[in-house]
């Protein structure tokens, strides 16, 4: 990828990937910056700028080849690689992540869930086993784990993060509704569901503002 990519572009990349995948599924071969912009609610010039920024795939007057561009963005996003996930917490959110329809085809493979509740441990979700939290370290020693998903109550999240760090996990996808302290060499991406709902409520409260 050519040079520095801004956070704003990085935030938009998954949206590009999603739209291009939908276009590909619809059988669209190529798309103009105009049309892609309309779908994504961006201006054509912003589209061209973004795509130039990650390597320049446009050909004046021909539009973008959908499959080629999708493949290229997928590579930038690291989706050409397999990522092995474990999920801590086999409640609603943990199970939703384990069964999320698009993850497996994007290379995210859940290999185990962990929980402490007796009625969950030992069962399985599809072909994903639910293991006891006490066996977390042992499992990580014996299996490749790229990403750990925190889907457990807020009060257990910080301790879990440290246990994961101590056995070498360096990437966390956190659903616990709190910002966790973490060592600098650990990546943490948060999903704060509440933030998103509050943005909706903000927009409802201000829908009639000038």
């Amino acid at each position: 990828m050519a040079g520095h990519v801004s956070d704003a572009v990085i935030r938009r990349l998954p949206g590009y990937y999603r739209h291009l995948r939908e276009l590909e599924a619809m059988g669209v071969m190529s798309i103009s910056s105009q049309e892609l912009g309309e779908r994504m609610n961006l201006t054509p010039s912003q589209i061209r700028q973004d795509i130039n920024c990650f390597g320049g795939f446009g050909r004046q007057g021909y539009g973008y080849k959908v499959t080629e561009l999708k493949g290229h963005i997928g590579e930038i996003l690291g989706l050409d690689q397999q990522h092995r996930l474990i999920i801590l917490g086999a409640g609603n959110i943990g199970c939703a992540v384990a069964q999320y329809p698009t993850f497996s085809r994007e290379g995210f493979k859940t290999v185990a869930l962990f929980d402490t509740q007796e009625n969950k441990v030992g069962r399985s979700l599809g072909d994903i086993p639910v293991k006891h939290m006490d066996t977390l370290e042992e499992f990580i020693r014996e299996n490749v784990v790229d990403i750990a998903v925190l889907a457990l109550p807020k009060r257990h999240a910080q301790e879990a993060l440290h246990r994961l760090y101590d056995c070498g996990v360096r990437a966390i996808w956190n659903f616990a509704p709190t910002d966790l302290n973490h060592p600098e060499d650990m990546l943490v991406v948060n999903v704060h569901l509440s933030d998103s709902l509050q943005q909706l409520s903000y927009r409802m409260a201000h829908r009639n503002d000038p």
Copy 2:
């Protein structure tokens, strides 16, 4: 609120609210822009700018009063008002939203879930009834509904949105992994879980970039 507020500030508002709530729970009375910035990974001057932008609550040298600022931001976010939610889809994501720990104290009250599966309809989740999708219009006619949460498969999401619009619902919180077409006077906020996981994978792929 004073004048125009940028999208970037609006995106940060829920984070302010979350951190201030945590500080309040810890018994912190006031906080400097320096300390709040460290917690939130923002510079003190950005903190001061943001807070000035939504009304100016700082007093040079005294810091911000935690409870007062939290209350003020809560009002801006519309959290001083009760919002009544219905959830379409009583699967993992629908149930996770219905039982999410912080929503009720932020004024978001789920009043019903809707599904089509016989083994779910007629049951209840805590005190929230699961109703049949066929009764959606009737329910909305007879009850105040401020927000509808789409937690159903992608292929049913667009049709559900139109049904909701036709009976007057104007705010959608969408978990279906697609961008929906919607009339201009309908607010739609998307939670694309995949986007967030892809951001993590992007950062993993580029963690050693200069």
